[in-house]
C-alpha cells in the first residue's frame, strides 16, 4: 500500500464512504458471468455442503449435500455441479475467430473462441475451496470399481485450471469479488475487514440513510448477513448439525424428503444474501469503463481457454499433484512476468494508478508551454528530425535523469528523451523533451498535424517501460497451453482413482 492509498483510506474513513482507487475498470467482466458461491462443512478438509450457482441473476440454482460426510453423496453433488458448469463452459467453444500466432516455431493461422467463460466467487476462500475440490476429483476414474460420473474428473480438471489461472494477475477467468472490488475502491476500514463482502459493499454503496461505518457494522452480524462462505457461521452450524443428524436417522422416505426440504430452505437462507451481493458487485464493477488494455488481456484469456478446451478434448490427462522443479521455475517466471505486465498496463490505462509512480518520482505530469516542431539535430551520418517539447510541471521529478527515455500513456508510440530540467524559483520546473519517433515516419519537418504536442496540452511522461510495449503478450512459443496453467499432465493410477475422500 502506498501513501496514495493510505490517503484515500483516510478520506474514506472521514467521509464514511469508499474512495475510488481507479478511474477505469482493470478486470474484464463477461456479459454472462457464472456466479458460484460454495459452502463447506466446517472441520473437514474439503466437504462440500451447498452451492448457489448460475449465470442468470434471476435464476440461482441451489445444490446441496444432505449427508456431507457420505462419499457417494459428495460425488453426486460434484456431478450436479458439473452438470451446471460444463455445459456453460461448452457453450463458448462453438464460435471461433482466426488469428495469426506462432506455434511449433512457425507463424500460423490459429483459431480461438470469440468469448470465454468467467467464474465469479465471493472471496479468496472460495477460490481455495474450488482448488481443493478440483484436487480431490480430477484423478477419479469413470470406469472400474470406483467409477464416478464422467463429469466429475472433467470438472476437477477445469476447476484446477481455473484456480491456477486465478493466481495470474491480469487474468479475469476466475475472480474473487472482494479482491476485484478492492482493486477499485479504498474503504475506511482495514483490509481484513474488506474480506467480508457484505461490509465491503456497505462501504462502496451504503444503503440510504447509512454511512459506510454503519453499513459495515450491520453487515458483520451473521444473523443479518450470513458469511459469504465457504465457511459457515458457527451459530448456524448448530441448526445445521441438528438437521443433518435428523436426516441421517430418518427412517422413511417422506420424512427424509421433508427434512431435505428444510435443509434446502436453511441453506438457501445462508446463500441468498450473498447471491444478491455478488450481482451488486457486478453492477458496481460494470459502472466503471474498461481500461484500454482489458480487452487485450481478455483476448489472451480466451486463447488459453480455447487451447485448454482443445487439450481436454484430445489428451485430457489431469494435472499432476505438484509441478516438477523445472516446471515450477518456469511457472514462477511466468507469474513474475504477468505481474509486471499487469502493473505496467494498469499504470498506462489509469492516471490514478500512474499517480503512484508520479509520487515515487518515476513519472510527471505537465503542461506544454513551448515546442520546436521542426528541430533537427546532428546525427552520426546525417541530421536527425527531433522535435522539442517543453513542459511546465509543479514539482521536480526526483528519479528522472537527463538522457532517460520516457513515454506518455496517451502517446504510447512516441518515444522521447529527457534533455533538460530547469528548476523555477516558485518550486515548479521546466522540462525539455525531444521526440524520437511517432512522427509518421517523417525524416524531416513538417510532421503531420497532431504528431507534435501543442502548447496547452497536459501530458504525463514516465520512465516505466520504455523497452517494450506494455500491451504485448508473450508469443505462443513462450506460452505453451500450460501457460499459467496446470503443471505437467499426469496419468492417474488405480490408487488415485480410489483416493479416500472422508
Amino acid at each position: 500500500m502506498s501513501v496514495l492509498t493510505t490517503y484515500a483510506r483516510l478520506r474514506a474513513a472521514e467521509a464514511g464512504r469508499a474512495e475510488p482507487l481507479a478511474t477505469v475498470r482493470h478486470v474484464h467482466l463477461a456479459a454472462r458471468p457464472f456466479v458460484l458461491i460454495p459452502l463447506a462443512l466446517a472441520g473437514e478438509a474439503c466437504a462440500p455442503l451447498a452451492a448457489l450457482v448460475g449465470a442468470e441473476r434471476e435464476r440461482p440454482e441451489l445444490l446441496i449435500v444432505a449427508e456431507p460426510r457420505d462419499r457417494t453423496q459428495r460425488f453426486a453433488f460434484v456431478a450436479d455441479l458439473a452438470d451446471r458448469v460444463l455445459p456453460h463452459l461448452d457453450s463458448f467453444t462453438r464460435d471461433t475467430e482466426e488469428y495469426t500466432g506462432r506455434r511449433d516455431g512457425a507463424k500460423r493461422i490459429l483459431t480461438r473462441c470469440t468469448e470465454a467463460p468467467q467464474i465469479l466467487v465471493p472471496n479468496p476462500g472460495g477460490i481455495a475451496f474450488l482448488r481443493l475440490l478440483g484436487r480431490s476429483t480430477r484423478f477419479r476414474g469413470t470406469e472400474g470399481p470406483h467409477a464416478v460420473p464422467p463429469g466429475v474428473p472433467l470438472l476437477g480438471k477445469w476447476l484446477t485450471w481455473f484456480t491456477d489461472r486465478a493466481e495470474f494477475p491480469g487474468s479475469s477467468q476466475l475472480l474473487a469479488m472482494t479482491e476485484a472490488l478492492s482493486v477499485h475502491w479504498a474503504t475506511g476500514q482495514s483490509g481484513t475487514e474488506d474480506g467480508n463482502l457484505a461490509s465491503l459493499i456497505g462501504w462502496i454503496a451504503p444503503p440510504d440513510g447509512h454511512d459506510g461505518h454503519e453499513a459495515a457494522r450491520l453487515a458483520e452480524d451473521p444473523a443479518l448477513r450470513p458469511p459469504a462462505g465457504p465457511a459457515t457461521d458457527p451459530v448456524f452450524d448448530h441448526t445445521l448439525h441438528e438437521l443433518l443428524d435428523r436426516y441421517e436417522r430418518a427412517g422413511t422416505d417422506p420424512l427424509r424428503a421433508a427434512l431435505r426440504h428444510q435443509l434446502e430452505k436453511q441453506l438457501r437462507s445462508q446463500l441468498a444474501p450473498t447471491w444478491d451481493l455478488m450481482w451488486r458487485g457486478v453492477d458496481l464493477l460494470r459502472s466503471l469503463p474498461p481500461g484500454a488494455s482489458v480487452a487485450g488481456r481478455w483476448e489472451f484469456d480466451r486463447t488459453l481457454f480455447t487451447d485448454y478446451a482443445a487439450y481436454l478434448a484430445e489428451t485430457g490427462l489431469p494435472q499432476a499433484r505438484r509441478d516438477h522443479a523445472v516446471g515450477a521455475a518456469r511457472r514462477l517466471a511466468r507469474l513474475e512476468d504477468a505481474t509486471a505486465r499487469y502493473e505496467l498496463a494498469r499504470a498506462y490505462d489509469d492516471p490514478l494508478v500512474m499517480a503512484e509512480h508520479e509520487l515515487a518520482g518515476r513519472a510527471f505530469t505537465g503542461v506544454v508551454i513551448a515546442t520546436d516542431p521542426s528541430r533537427m539535430v546532428k546525427g552520426p551520418r546525417s541530421a536527425l528530425f527531433r522535435p522539442l517539447v517543453t513542459l511546465r510541471t509543479d514539482a521536480l521529478p526526483p528519479r528522472l535523469e537527463l538522457g532517460d527515455k520516457v513515454k506518455s500513456p496517451t502517446r504510447r508510440d512516441q518515444p522521447a528523451r529527457l534533455l533538460a530540467v530547469r528548476a523555477l524559483p516558485d518550486g515548479d520546473a521546466e522540462i525539455d523533451l525531444e521526440l524520437e519517433g511517432g512522427l509518421a515516419r517523417k525524416r524531416k519537418p513538417p510532421a503531420p498535424p497532431g504528431c507534435v504536442p501543442e502548447p496547452g496540452e497536459e501530458l504525463c511522461y514516465t520512465v516505466l517501460d520504455t523497452g517494450h510495449s506494455p500491451l504485448a503478450f508473450p508469443d505462443d512459443e513462450a506460452t505453451p497451453w500450460t501457460h499459467g496453467g496446470p503443471p505437467t499432465p499426469y496419468t492417474p493410477t488405480e490408487d488415485d482413482a480410489d483416493e479416500a475422500w472422508e
Binding site: L4, L10, T23, A42, S136, A500
Partner: protein, 367 residues
C-alpha cells in the same frame, strides 16, 4: 468467581499483539474477556467453534491414539527414526474435569517425567500430560496432546490437529497457530525439567504436528522448527511479569470484578465503573485483534472514536509517523493546518498524494 486460568492458546495469543498493555493486564488478572466485552456493551466477536469442527477434532485425535497409539508410534518412528522397540504409553487423562484432577495429573506427570529423566523409563510416551507454568503469579495448567518418549535423547511435544495437509501442504496460518501453542508447551516442559534438575536441552526445539493426510482420516506427521516462536513466547512471559506492575499503577478504586450479587442479582461493580477501569489501561488496537481478542469490537469502537489511523491496518499507521488522528492528518494534508518541524516530511508526502488524487479525479483537494 475464580480467575480464568491461562491455557496454551491464550499465552500463544499474547505474542500476536505484544504491545497491548490492556490485554496483558486483563489476562494476567485472569479476566473473562468475553464476559467483560458483554458488560461493556460489545459483542465478543465470533470465537465459537462449530460443532462439526469439534466432532471432527475429537474423532481424529481418537483415531491417532487408537489401538495402543499404533498410529502415533508409527509416525514417531517414521519422522524421528525412533528405534523399533515398543514404546509404552501412560494416559494421564484417566480422571478428567475439575481443577483438582488437573493438579493430580500435573503431579503424576511430574513423577513420570522424573523416571524419564533418570532413564528408568525412557520408552515412555505421555498422553494427556499436564504441565504447569507460573505466569504473573498464577499457575497455568497446560495440556499438550502428548509428549514423545526419549528419541535420540530428545523429548518431542506432539500436537494433533484436524486440519488437513494436502499433498504435504497444510494451511500456513493454522500451522503457525499450532506452532505458537507448541512453543508454549515446550517452554513449560523445559521449566518443569530444569526444576527437576535435568537439562532444558532434553526437550527438542521442534514439535511433531500430526494432521489428516489429504482428504482422508489417515494421519500425516511432520516435524516443525520452533526456535522463532520460542523466542517470542519467552519475551511475552517476561512482559507479563511486568503486567503486575502495570496493574499496580491502576487507580485505587479501579475494579475488574465481573461477579454478580447472589445467583442472578445485580453486578457487584457497575458497568460504568468497569468501563472506566478498562479505559484506564492503555490499548493498542490493530485490525489483527479481530482474529484473536474477545475485546476487539470494543477496542475497535474506541479506536474509531479516537480517530486512530492504525485501525485501518496494513501500512497506514507506518505511513503516518507522528500523526495519530485521522482528521488531523487530513487537515494537514489539505493545507488547513501547518505541521511542526518533525512532521513536515510526512505531511509533504500526504500533500503530494492529495494533489495527485485531486487532479486525477477532477476535484478540489479537500472536496
Amino acid at each position: 468467581m475464580p480467575p480464568l486460568s491461562y491455557d496454551a492458546r491464550k499465552i500463544a495469543a499474547l505474542t500476536t499483539n505484544p504491545g497491548c498493555a490492556r490485554r496483558a493486564v486483563l489476562d494476567a488478572a485472569g479476566i473473562d474477556k468475553a464476559r467483560l466485552a458483554g458488560r461493556l456493551g460489545a459483542t465478543p466477536g465470533a470465537f465459537t467453534q462449530s460443532p462439526f469442527a469439534l466432532t471432527r477434532g475429537r474423532a481424529f485425535e481418537a483415531l491417532v491414539k487408537a489401538n495402543g497409539y499404533a498410529e502415533l508410534i508409527t509416525l514417531l518412528r517414521a519422522e524421528l527414526a525412533a528405534p523399533v522397540e515398543e514404546a509404552r504409553v501412560a494416559d494421564l487423562a484417566a480422571a478428567e474435569g475439575d481443577r483438582a484432577s488437573v493438579r493430580t495429573r500435573a503431579r503424576a506427570t511430574e513423577r513420570l517425567l522424573k523416571r524419564v529423566i533418570a532413564e528408568e523409563d525412557s520408552r515412555l510416551i505421555l498422553d494427556h500430560p499436564v504441565l504447569t507454568l507460573e505466569i504473573a503469579g498464577q499457575t497455568a495448567y497446560l495440556e499438550p496432546d502428548a509428549l514423545s518418549h526419549r528419541i535420540g535423547d530428545r523429548i518431542h511435544v506432539v500436537v494433533i490437529k484436524s486440519f488437513a495437509a494436502i499433498d504435504g501442504q497444510a494451511d500456513p496460518r493454522k500451522t503457525a497457530a499450532a506452532a505458537r501453542e507448541a512453543a508454549v508447551h515446550v517452554l513449560a516442559l523445559r521449566r518443569t525439567l530444569t526444576g527437576l534438575g535435568a537439562s532444558a536441552d532434553l526437550v527438542a526445539d521442534q514439535f511433531l504436528l500430526v494432521c489428516p493426510k489429504d482428504f482422508s482420516n489417515r494421519p500425516y506427521g511432520r516435524l516443525i522448527d520452533l526456535r522463532q516462536q520460542l523466542d517470542a513466547v519467552e519475551h511475552q512471559l517476561r512482559r507479563l511479569a511486568r503486567a503486575e506492575d502495570l496493574a499496580g499503577a491502576l487507580d485505587a478504586d479501579a475494579s475488574l470484578d465481573l461477579s454478580v450479587q447472589g445467583d442472578q442479582g445485580p453486578p457487584v461493580v457497575s458497568d460504568d465503573h468497569l468501563a472506566r477501569t478498562v479505559e484506564s489501561l492503555d490499548y493498542l488496537y490493530e485490525p489483527g485483534c479481530l482474529d484473536f481478542c474477545e475485546l476487539s469490537r470494543h477496542c475497535r469502537e474506541k479506536a474509531l472514536a479516537a480517530g486512530a489511523p492504525a485501525r485501518l491496518g496494513g501500512t497506514v499507521g507506518g505511513d503516518l509517523p507522528g500523526l495519530d488522528h485521522i482528521a488531523v492528518a487530513l487537515s494537514l494534508a489539505h493545507g488547513q493546518a501547518e505541521p511542526d518541524e518533525h512532521r513536515r516530511e510526512v505531511v509533504e508526502r500526504l500533500r503530494a498524494a492529495a494533489r495527485l488524487r485531486a487532479r486525477c479525479l477532477g476535484r478540489g483537494v479537500a472536496s
